[in-house]
């Protein structure tokens, strides 16, 4: 944002009520309260007001008005985001797409679906099921999160190793630009002429436009799926087994790992029958035709045993498969039960670095005096360390953030990145300066300006300003040199 809005809250509300059902123009604090944060509730802000338009024409009009008056706009799906990407702007509006919740059409033969942006992720697969089809990316939040939010974050899920992320499963999006123009990017075909704007839009965190329609690809539902659960007495062995499976030529539908803390918490919660004494647990799902699954499951079992698994169990039926997954799927709430609060990180690392990074993390855990549980998409090296803390203890969240930041630095150092699927938002904006240099960040800002010269769409998110980076770097520099000083005095 370069300039202040040129309109008051009352004037803006009146304009909106001229073309949006007044009931859906929210201006009072009490009704606005639920919009003050997304899933990352440590970051809150009250907006000027909230609008819930019901037609694309209304969204266009909202954007025209906000552009004219330089009012920041934060698009919002279900608000399950984990980077404070949907956190409001104090001088701006929240543009909720909650009313856009219709599945417009499903084409079973072409295997595609047209959706309004507020359709919930799980609702797509539920509606496609009667045709033997489903939508691939399945974030753990799929009951609640919306396809518009998924596009904005390029969300992933348990099955992304084999079936790809959101970016791999889209055909087209309809977009309202910052000045209210409506445009379609992509087509019903698999690619389009010219630079790949579809890819650019995916994961752009609501900074380039407002998504008003999404066309996704659907996949034929595999004939069967079976899951092998393998316990290990060391993280190292489990990490090697992940590489071993993949090097063997098997691409599992899902390959997830939990560490000792998570195993116990999840098993307490779901009674999934996990080996509670194991230091690491792998859940390896193989899906496909009956013949293929049969062949691969046998190979996976043998391989896990050979690589030192202390226990191996394979699901015999759908109930058992669901049970084994239940622990994994409820791991976050399960960890929530053993600690007043937890902070979920999202770094990605080369798979070969798993054991090293987890060991380093254990050391940091001691250093910061905070427990950490690990649940993650091992197949793609996407870590979700959950740092356990108590927000009511003064200073503990700050310590948690510092711990988190160190984890992300480590991820970058071993060749990984600061976020695999949750996005940058406000939460990881500082770490952008670890992953990118000033020229790269400047390039991002220029790219953003190509869509939104006045910086109205989701300001303060995704890409840090130049000033922010400079301040952060000098602060970091100072901190590092003080750390060195204290280290030296210890020595």
């Amino acid at each position: 944002m370069t300039e202040k809005p040129t309109i008051t809250k009352a004037e803006l509300a009146e304009h909106f009520r001229g073309f949006i059902d007044p009931e859906y123009v929210i201006t009072d604090d009490e009704t606005m309260k639920p919009y003050e944060c997304d899933g990352m509730s440590m970051y809150c802000e009250m907006p000027l007001l909230v609008v819930l338009p019901e037609t694309v024409a209304q969204v266009q009009e909202v954007m025209r008005l906000c552009s004219r008056h330089k009012v920041p706009v934060v698009a919002r799906g279900a608000g399950t985001g984990l980077c404070a990407g949907a956190m409001p702007h104090a001088e701006g509006i929240v543009l909720s797409l909650a009313k856009f919740n219709r599945i417009l059409s499903i084409d079973p033969l072409a295997r595609s679906a047209r959706l309004q942006p507020g359709v919930r992720n799980l609702a797509i697969s539920e509606a496609a099921a009667e045709f033997g089809l489903y939508y691939g990316p399945d974030p753990s939040s799929q009951i609640a999160c919306t396809i518009g939010g998924n596009v904005a974050e390029n969300s992933g899920g348990v099955h992304c190793l084999k079936y790809g992320l959101t970016v791999h499963n889209l055909l087209s999006v309809e977009l309202v630009t910052v000045d209210g123009e409506l445009v379609t990017i992509g087509s019903d075909g698999l690619d389009c002429c010219g630079m790949d704007l579809m890819a650019l839009m995916t994961g752009s965190e609501g900074l380039l436009g407002v998504v008003t329609e999404v066309q996704v690809k659907l996949l034929p539902k595999p004939e069967i799926a079976q899951v092998v659960m393998a316990g290990f007495d060391s993280i190292q062995k489990a990490g090697d087994a992940v590489g071993g499976i993949i090097a063997h030529g098997i691409i599992p539908g899902g390959l997830e790992m939990m560490d000792g803390h998570a195993i116990v918490a999840a098993d307490d919660f779901a009674q999934a029958g996990y080996p509670r004494d194991a230091k690491a647990l792998l859940l390896c799902e193989v899906d496909g035709t009956e013949e293929e699954v049969h062949e691969h499951i046998e190979q996976a079992e043998t391989l896990f045993r050979k690589l030192g698994a202390t226990s191996v169990r394979t699901s015999r039926d759908e109930d058992e498969r669901a049970l084994l997954w239940k622990g994994r799927k409820s791991a976050f709430p399960a960890v929530g039960r053993i600690s007043p609060d937890y902070y979920c990180m999202d770094g990605t690392i080369p798979r070969g670095q798993l054991a090293h990074v987890l060991t380093e993390m254990e050391k940091m855990s001691e250093e910061f005096g905070l427990r950490v549980a690990n649940v993650f998409h091992a197949g793609d090296g996407n870590l979700h360390p959950l740092i356990l803390f108590d927000a009511n203890v003064p200073g503990e969240f700050e310590r948690t953030e510092a711990f988190g930041s160190r984890i992300l630095e480590l991820c970058v150092k071993v060749g990984g990145c600061i976020t695999g699927e949750h996005g940058v938002g406000v939460e990881k904006i500082r770490q952008m300066a670890i992953q990118f240099n000033d020229d790269e960040l400047a390039q991002f800002r220029e790219l953003k300006a190509a869509f939104d010269a006045d910086g109205i769409l989701n300001p303060g998110k995704g890409v840090p300003t130049l000033r922010f980076c400079q301040e952060y770097r000098s602060l970091e520099h100072k901190q590092h040199s003080t750390n060195r000083d204290t280290d030296a005095s210890h020595g």
């Binding site: 033997g132 010219g194 790949d196 049969h294 976020t419 949750h422 995704g462």
Partner: protein, 354 residues
């Protein structure tokens, strides 16, 4: 096997100082693509910028310099039983990975295995200011910053010079088999889509000269069971057949008639246009050979839910890409300006106005 990125950077900075233009050339195998290169621009040659920077078979990740020939990459991968799943076409012996990504070229497996753009994890790129930048990375999932890497797919080098590309690679399928049967063009689109909607290990589907070809790839048992169920004549020398399709070596692609590429909804009815057609990607990619009016072709493509481009031959001083709506022209011009403010790279190669 050399890193000449410093020289490339110097050349770009020199061009910027002089106010001159540069045509980016990898192996030169795709000189026929895009619009006619600007005759006043000098060449920026990447064929000396080669070599594998990093390859960890267990990670399924490969990082290469952009001028590395596809042939070298595939040979290296083959030693580890791995492959580029998007089956990039080769139009000669010199095709590079950089050119393949810039032109967004993928082969017969594309609907099932993804495109070159789908497998890209990160790039290094020199922009029009001569800055050597790094986007994305070497890991499977990365949502930090805008996806500048995949934006390059189809950009024809208009945004910058890619110097290094990281890609996801995959194990070769354990077994594969191709089934052939005769089929009229009017029936084949439906047939291929019905097969695609089954949860079977289909990995390619094309129609050529009155015959439909389906390739199955995966576990031996799955391939055999599906083949027994679906029926059709097993094809001998199937690998050679698909390789020829991928590299456009079938007779269909011979001669010097204009070649049009339709990227459309896989189920779209076959356009009513007399002439020679080849259907690939289970209906999502269709090739037409012959003289035609571009505006008319665009209408056919729109009716089929997609776009058309003049892939080879014809008038290459006119537009060869599908017409872009005004809003997207504006966006692409501003993006160009954001990456290459002095418009140094590949002027007019993608669109006359870029």
């Amino acid at each position: 096997m050399a890193d000449i990125s410093k020289q490339l950077q110097d050349q770009i900075l020199a061009a910027r100082d002089k106010g001159s233009k540069l045509n980016i050339v990898g192996g030169g195998s795709k000189a026929f693509m895009g619009r006619t290169p600007d005759p006043d621009a000098s060449e920026l040659n990447l064929s000396g910028h080669t070599g594998i920077v990093d390859y960890h078979p267990v990670e399924l990740v490969l990082t290469v310099r952009a001028g590395t020939p596809l042939n070298d990459i595939e040979a290296t991968l083959a030693e580890q039983g791995q492959t580029l799943h998007f089956e990039p076409p080769r139009f000669g012996d010199t095709d590079t990975i950089g050119g393949t990504l810039a032109c967004n070229l993928s082969g017969p497996a594309r609907p099932w295995s993804g495109s070159v753009r789908d497998q890209v994890l990160g790039v290094r790129l020199i922009n029009g200011k001569g800055e050597h930048l790094k986007f994305g990375g070497q890991v499977m999932k990365n949502v930090a910053g805008y996806d500048v890497s995949r934006l390059q797919a189809g950009a024809f080098g208009t945004l910058g010079v890619m110097t290094e590309i990281s890609l996801k690679v995959m194990p070769k399928p354990a077994a594969s088999m191709t089934l052939v049967r005769e089929m009229a063009v009017d029936d084949v689109v439906d047939y291929m889509n019905v097969r695609s909607a089954e949860p079977k290990p289909l990995s390619a589907a094309c129609w050529l000269d009155g015959k439909v070809y389906l390739r199955l790839s995966g576990a031996q048992s799955a391939v055999e069971a599906t083949a027994a169920r679906w029926g059709g004549e097993p094809l001998d020398e199937a690998d050679a057949f698909w390789q020829k399709l991928r590299d456009q070596q079938h007779d269909f692609f011979g001669g010097d008639q204009p070649l049009w590429r339709f990227s459309v909804r896989s189920t779209a009815a076959q356009p009513k246009l007399e002439g020679q057609w080849l259907i690939d990607w289970a209906g999502a990619q269709r090739w037409f050979l012959g003289d035609a009016d571009k505006a008319q072709m665009e209408q056919l493509a729109r009716d089929a839910g997609g776009q058309v481009s003049l892939f080879r031959g014809g008038d290459r001083n006119a537009e060869v890409m599908h017409h872009q709506p005004e809003v997207l022209c504006g966006v692409q011009k501003r993006l160009k300006n954001a990456f290459d403010p002095d418009a140094i790279f590949n002027p007019g190669r993608l669109y006359s106005w870029l």
